[in-house]
């Protein structure tokens, strides 16, 4: 370490630190007393109270100790210098890590410790990775905060389910249609609202997401309302179903390959389908970023007025980002429907949108690998036990705030613009 270059370590001012910690503990006490100190419980169908002052004491003591530790750490650490944002991984390492991740993903069902449960979990992770990459186009690249992304996921899922029901289309026939329908939905919704400023746009997209959900819930003749749609067909392997028996004239997968049928085959097949879809999504978005349109997205994110001055039409560019993001969401939705075999409006609530947004934000807006990491953390965390599952959303809320404060560019910083008119301001920006 080049100690000479650093300023001398600063002292801890214990007195002011203690005062601050006492203040923080006092605030924590006020906050904790009503909601932590008392619990509302039902006693014989009448609401009563139970006290939990022990919890309050623990919480307040925790805040006091935490504040002291934080303050001491902050004053003992050398002052942080603000320069180029540090990346977790360099470019070469990123490529290496991505290759390793792909190889691992391809081999996963055949690894010795692998199980049906693990492959199933990996499938869920990959659905969220796809959704994260799709939303990344809108939020990370084009800089449009979309809080209703789940609407396109729902459109994809329902359009596939309905196509399968009405027209007897198979998964592979309906998949492009679902994507197309979601994209046209994206254009239809985006066209009127894309003139709006960033935060207004966020709220309007939230409204759209809720409208779509409420329509799915109440338009019973088409969507079957809260009961949802069941018996959605599974995908087939080049026309060969992955079932123990098939109707006359159709060969099953296991019969064709002369292997005994095993339900793990279907789970493994679904896993490879979503892996392929995710990889195609990844290549597609990475390619798009290098095209003029991708550059226009990023330019628009940085400075809309400058873009207009350069003759870029913001509406068209934003609309394309919205449509492509929606299409990717639609693909993920169609896969979700075929994998579950059953969909209902309950799968498409705002929490889902917030989860996908959390993946993008935690991963680092614009970073492909970061999205994968965030999706893995987010999806697998509740699997470590019921206790953790309870705290999952609590932790994610806290993590979203923490990331915005300490690493506003996400865990993996995105590509920085190569030229800047104004140098980045202190403390983020």
């Amino acid at each position: 370490m080049a100690e000479a270059a650093l300023p001398p370590p600063r002292r801890v001012h214990w007195q002011s630190l203690l005062k601050e910690a006492a203040l923080a503990a006092g605030v924590a006490l006020v906050l904790a007393v009503p909601l932590v100190g008392f619990e509302t419980i039902n006693v014989n169908a009448v609401l009563g109270l139970r006290t939990r002052f022990g919890w309050v004491a623990i919480g307040v003591a925790g805040v006091f100790a935490g504040r002291i530790l934080l303050g001491a750490a902050r004053s003992l650490m050398p002052e942080r210098r603000y320069g180029a944002p540090r990346l977790l991984l360099g470019r070469r390492h990123t490529t290496l890590a991505a290759t390793a991740a792909i190889i691992f993903a391809l081999a996963l069902p055949f690894l010795p410790f692998s199980s049906r449960y693990l492959v199933d979990l990996a499938t869920t992770v990959l659905i969220y990775v796809m959704l994260g990459w799709g939303l990344n186009v809108v939020v990370g690249l084009a800089g449009l905060l979309d809080l209703g992304y789940v609407a396109f996921y729902a459109v994809g899922a329902y359009s596939f389910a309905l196509f399968a029901q009405w027209f007897d289309l198979s998964f592979w026939e309906a998949l492009p249609l679902a994507g197309l329908l979601a994209a046209s939905f994206g254009i239809a919704l985006g066209f009127p609202v894309l003139r709006l400023r960033g935060d207004y746009l966020a709220i309007v997209t939230l409204g759209f997401g809720e409208i779509v959900r409420l329509v799915l819930l109440n338009w019973v003749p088409v969507t079957n309302g809260p009961n949802g749609i069941s018996n959605i067909p599974r995908p087939s392997f080049f026309g060969m179903p992955l079932t123990p028996h098939a109707p006359h004239g159709i060969t099953t997968f296991s019969a064709f390959f002369h292997v005994p049928f095993n339900p793990g085959q279907r789970i493994g097949f679904l896993y490879y389908v979503v892996l392929a879809l995710a990889l195609v999504t990844n290549v597609f978005t990475l390619r798009l970023r290098r095209l003029p349109i991708g550059r226009a997205w990023e330019a628009l994110r940085e400075d809309e007025i400058a873009c207009r001055a350069l003759g870029i039409n913001p509406t068209t560019i934003k609309l394309s980002a919205f449509a492509i993001g929606a299409m990717l969401g639609g693909f993920a939705g169609a896969f979700f429907a075929t994998r579950q075999g059953f969909i209902s409006p309950e799968s498409f609530t705002f929490i889902e949108s917030a989860t996908i947004l959390a993946i993008v934000v935690l991963g680092g807006s614009g970073s492909q690998l970061g999205v994968v990491l965030a999706a893995i953390v987010l999806v697998t965390l509740p699997e470590f036990g019921r206790g953790l599952a309870q705290y999952r959303m609590l932790l994610f809320g806290a993590a979203m705030i923490g990331i915005m404060i300490w690493r506003p560019r996400g865990l993996m910083a995105r590509r920085e613009p190569s030229l800047r008119l104004h140098p980045p301001r202190r403390g983020g920006g």
Binding site: V27, L145, D199, V204, G207, A358, A398, M404
Partner: protein
Amino acid sequence: MAYFVQQLINGLTLGSIYGLIAIGYTMVYGIIGMINFAHGDIYMIGAFVSLITLLGLTAVGISGVPIALALTLVSAMLFTGAYGWAVERLAYRPLRRSFRLAPLISAIGMSIFLENYVQLLQGAQVKALQPIVRGGFTLMRSGGFTVEVSWLQVVILVLTVALMTVFSLFIAGTPLGRAQRACEQDMVMASLLGIDVDRTISTTFIIGAALAAVAGLMVTLYYGVIDFFIGFLAGIKAFTAAVLGGIGSLPGAMLGGLLIGLIEAFWSGYFSVEYKDVSVFVILVLVLIFRPTGLLGKPDVEKV
């Protein structure tokens, strides 16, 4: 006619509640230009603090309705105000100079956090409270339909009007109110003239939270059922009210709240209950597209 009057009264009651929440959105937007997405959850916390205080007062033996309500009002405003202050201090103040969408994302995180915080501490099931303010009177009778007004509705309307008056006087006349308006117009200039901007913003959050707490108390009394998720929908509706009235404008927030309450009441009275939430979202989208400045707002000029 009688049915219409009944819906009108129901709508005004509902609108008072939305209006009180909307003030919090509009004040925060006016002063730091961010949508405080967690404000709906602050209102939810207000409802829970009210519920717990009411239960606690009953347990202690204070059962006179006026005194219990007054104490609950004070406790809800105090504790929820503290939550409003803490939310700003922890989640928004460090981001004041960050990029534009950072506070909004942080606010979404805060909203998720608060919902789960209350769910973990108080349980996910719906909390039902016995009605405390009972009775009412018949306003009019026509065509076999009677218009009932409950005392509670009278209390809600009177309390709202009283709070709005006090609040308007506060903003217009006190040094804090002047500081608040000054920060709204030009934060840098205000700080040069010796106004403590940080403290003014904190006060704004405390006042907004306290008003939302009153709305929370009203909802607890009016519907008698609350859960940890009530803040989401009410928050969006109140935000719609703020936008409809013109975000940044205080009378606009109240007007917008009343309009949203009326629209919701008449929509469910005359069209369909299932789509009453859709009606609010559609209004939000339409207002933002065609009249982003709302009814009473000032046009927002973007400078390079």
